[in-house]
Structures are given as structure tokens and as C-alpha cells.
Symmetry: C2
């Protein structure tokens, strides 16, 4: 496993920032323009921007690290030897196509199955969270820290949409979230940034894909939080799509029990 | 009724912008700071910023227009002769206290019962929508226009939270919104700005207070949209709190029928 002070990890960190820098102007060139919204088989809207960004990022990765694998939302999985870049060019596509500025670009680097770098970039607000295994998560240029809230009853909890849950999942989420001090909807990847910066305490979702959640792992863990599936298992490419992020270990344990 | 070219309306427009300019730095000084969140009888969180802004705006209004009435979220209703300023210092308090930047300051001017000026200001993103009766709504410095989407089936629909609806209201909203091309949560006042700028097509809410919705009326109508309660009646200080905003008249009629 790479250590955070390894030359490769530092190189990867700079490169991930370059990827996000490259994605921003493409996203913003299409944001709030009339878009031909297509519908995929799963009915999530896909935009021209989504594909343009992923194409650009794949090109940059291929040029810099030709041996690395790539898994992206739009163009599938090209396996590599040890390292894999996981890309979600526009997370929060529904926000994007309705002019809501809190969509993001997600970049993750896997060492084998383990996420060692995660980046959440918000082009419209110029905000960026970057997590690197073994170091403190950075918001823009400043280290950030999740909250010390250790009781569900005083927690602020986010999920993007009830529509992403099955009835059974919603029942479990409802049981948990009704105990919270505040529950709120909308957010996509932005909610995990809020958690890493100490502004909310729990984010619970279902129906996510690996490119939606792998980048979140180093961001949340580097801020002192815990993130897993709803059974407490580490997130991986084979995960169920149920995600639980908590500001700290005690809160994570409580939330796991409440979801059970 | 004042005409848009009247000297008073132009004065009021400049003054409303001054109110929003005064609110911005107060909001931003408290945003993402640790806040002592109180709970009112209705359990909505109240922040120090909320009260500081309303106090400041009431002072400015009292100095400029001592005969005008004021109705604010925090400090109640002081009746005036002909004109009344309706203030929501921070709309989207849940967003505000969880570090989400899409909260807003709402300012409305009533001539008798009729809203003749409405302003939605988003301090964290420096975005502002201003509507003045009889003129085109302006987004920042540019006129904006709601969409031409005239079928629910191709509409993007927003509401802030299912938790704001009664079971019976939710059933009606669910029937409507399941027909839409896209439904999305979170937003508060920002959703009505998205609608005025043509990015979403319907916003439907329940459980709102007059200070939540009166400012929206000139913004939506000045962009070509329609806004009313769920029975199609004009919004006023005695309205039920059910709000339906649509990008245009045909879409508004369809949505009214679907909610019935």
C-alpha cells in the first residue's frame, strides 16, 4: 500500500487536481445552456457535458499513466494492472440540467481495490475537497474536519432523494432520520463535502454506483469520518449501492444500528 | 396601482437592492460558523443571522419609509398605511445551518394586498432575481425568462422536502410529480429563481408562510410564469401555504388540474 509521502501519491494528488481543473471549464461551458437531455436505460439524464468531460479525463489519464485502469460512468471499465481511476464527470446530473450549481466532478484512485485518493470538485462554486489516504482532507487549501456530533438526536442528516430508495430501504432510512435533529434533501456529492467540513453529520443513500461513491471514501475518512455500506462493510466496486457516511465512529455505529 | 415607470417604483427597486446588499455581509459573516441553533415552537431552526438581518432591514426601512408597514419572519407585523415590506431574512434556514450555499434573502413590497416588487438574493453565490410588476424579471443584470415547456410529461419539477406536506397533500403532489420528466428535492427559494431563469418548469410546495412566498410572485410573473395557491387563487397574506409556480399559463393549468 502506498504511503502518503510516497512520490507517486504526491504525483497522483497533483494529477487529480489537474483532472478537476480540466473538467471545470467543460462543465461550466455547458451549465445553464439549453441541453439535449437524453435518457439512458436507467432513466438518469445524460448530458453532452458528461461525455465531453469523461473523454477529456480519459485522454489525460491515458497520456500520463498508460498502464492504469479507468472506470467511468459514461464509457465503462478499462482494466489496468495495479491502479484504477474511477470517474464521475458530473455527479448530480439532475441538478446540472436544472441549473442548480451544486453538481460535482468525482475522481478516485484505487490501489487494487482500495481507494487511496478521492476528490470532489464543484465547478460552479469553485469548491474542492481532496482526501489522500493517511492525511487530513483539504477543502480548497485548508484542512477540514468532520463534526464531533455523537448522537443521532443532535445530528443533521442528508439524503439526495427518497426516490432513490426501495420501499424497504426507505423504511429503514425513515426510522433513522426521524430521530435526527434535522433532515434535508438534495445534495448528491455536495452533502459529503458538507460532512467533511463539519456542516452536517450523516449522509445516507441507496441506489448509488461505484463511480458515485468511491471518491467519497478518502474525503470522508481523511476528515475523521466513517463511510461504509449499510452493513458496515467497506465500500468497493462490488458494493450494493447503499452508503452510510458519518462524522465520526460513535455516530457511525449508532446509525448502523438504527438502519439494521 | 403603481405603474412600473413611476418614480416611487424605481425608488423602491433601488431600495430593495440596498436591503439585499445590506443583508449579504451579515449572512456571510455567520455562514459556516458554529451557530447556536434554537428551536422555535414550529421547530424550524432560527439563527443569530436571521435576527441580525431582519433587525438591520427593519432599521433601513423605518429610516427611509417611516409610514410603511413591515411583516418579517422573526419580529412579526407592524402595519402601515398603503405599503408593506415582507421580509424573510434567511429562507432555507436548514440549508444555511448545514453549510449549503443556496439559502436566500427574500424581500417583497406590497401595495395594499398586491405584491408589486419581489427580490430573491442568494448571498453565497452572489445571485439575485428581481421582479417588478409590469416589467421583465432581472437575474443579476440581465432579463430572464421562464421556459416554454407546456407539458407536465416534459417538465422538471422541484419541491424542497416531502416532510413539508400533509399525507393528503403529498398524495396530490406525488400524482402530479410522477408524471414529470424529472423530479428533484431541496431548493427553497432558489427553485423559483431556477424557474424564472428557464432551468426548471414547476415548483410545488406546501406549508409555506407569507414571508416565504410573497417575494416570489413578481419574480415568477415577471419572467412569464404563473404562481398561485393549489386552487389557482392569487397568493396573499391569508393564503393556505400551498404554492404552485409554473413556467407558463398552459403548464400552470395542467398542474392545477393534476393537483385537484
Amino acid at each position: 500500500v502506498e504511503q502518503p509521502d510516497s512520490p507517486f501519491l504526491q504525483q497522483a494528488r497533483l494529477f487529480a487536481e489537474q483532472l478537476a481543473d480540466a473538467a471545470r471549464p467543460i462543465a461550466m461551458a455547458h451549465f445553464r445552456q439549453a441541453l439535449a437531455v437524453e435518457h439512458k436505460a436507467d432513466h438518469s439524464p445524460v448530458t453532452v457535458a458528461d461525455r465531453a468531460i469523461e473523454t477529456r479525463l480519459r485522454g489525460l489519464i491515458g497520456a500520463a499513466f498508460p498502464g492504469h485502469g479507468i472506470l467511468g460512468e459514461e464509457f465503462g471499465h478499462v482494466p489496468g494492472a495495479r491502479y484504477t481511476w474511477v470517474l464521475d464527470p458530473i455527479d448530480g446530473t439532475k441538478s446540472f440540467i436544472t441549473g442548480l450549481p451544486l453538481f460535482g466532478t468525482l475522481v478516485c484512485l484505487l490501489d487494487g481495490a482500495r481507494p487511496i485518493l478521492g476528490l470532489i470538485d464543484i465547478p460552479a462554486t469553485s469548491e474542492r475537497w481532496l482526501g489522500l489516504a493517511g492525511t487530513a482532507t483539504v477543502f480548497n487549501t485548508v484542512e477540514c474536519r468532520a463534526s464531533q456530533c455523537q448522537a443521532i438526536e443532535s445530528a443533521c442528516i442528508y439524503t439526495t432523494s427518497p426516490d432513490a430508495f426501495t420501499a424497504q430501504e426507505w423504511s429503514r432510512y425513515d426510522t433513522l432520520s426521524r430521530r435526527a435533529a434535522l433532515r434535508r434533501y438534495g445534495g448528491d456529492c455536495y452533502s459529503y463535502g458538507q460532512l467533511a467540513s463539519g456542516h452536517c453529520d450523516l449522509v445516507v443513500e441507496a441506489g448509488l454506483q461505484p463511480y458515485d461513491f468511491m471518491a467519497l471514501v478518502p474525503v470522508v475518512e481523511g476528515a475523521g469520518g466513517r463511510i461504509s455500506d449499510w452493513r458496515g462493510e467497506p465500500l468497493g466496486l462490488q458494493s450494493s449501492g447503499q452508503v452510510l457516511a458519518a462524522a465520526n465512529e460513535p455516530l457511525w455505529r449508532q446509525a448502523l444500528a438504527a438502519l439494521a
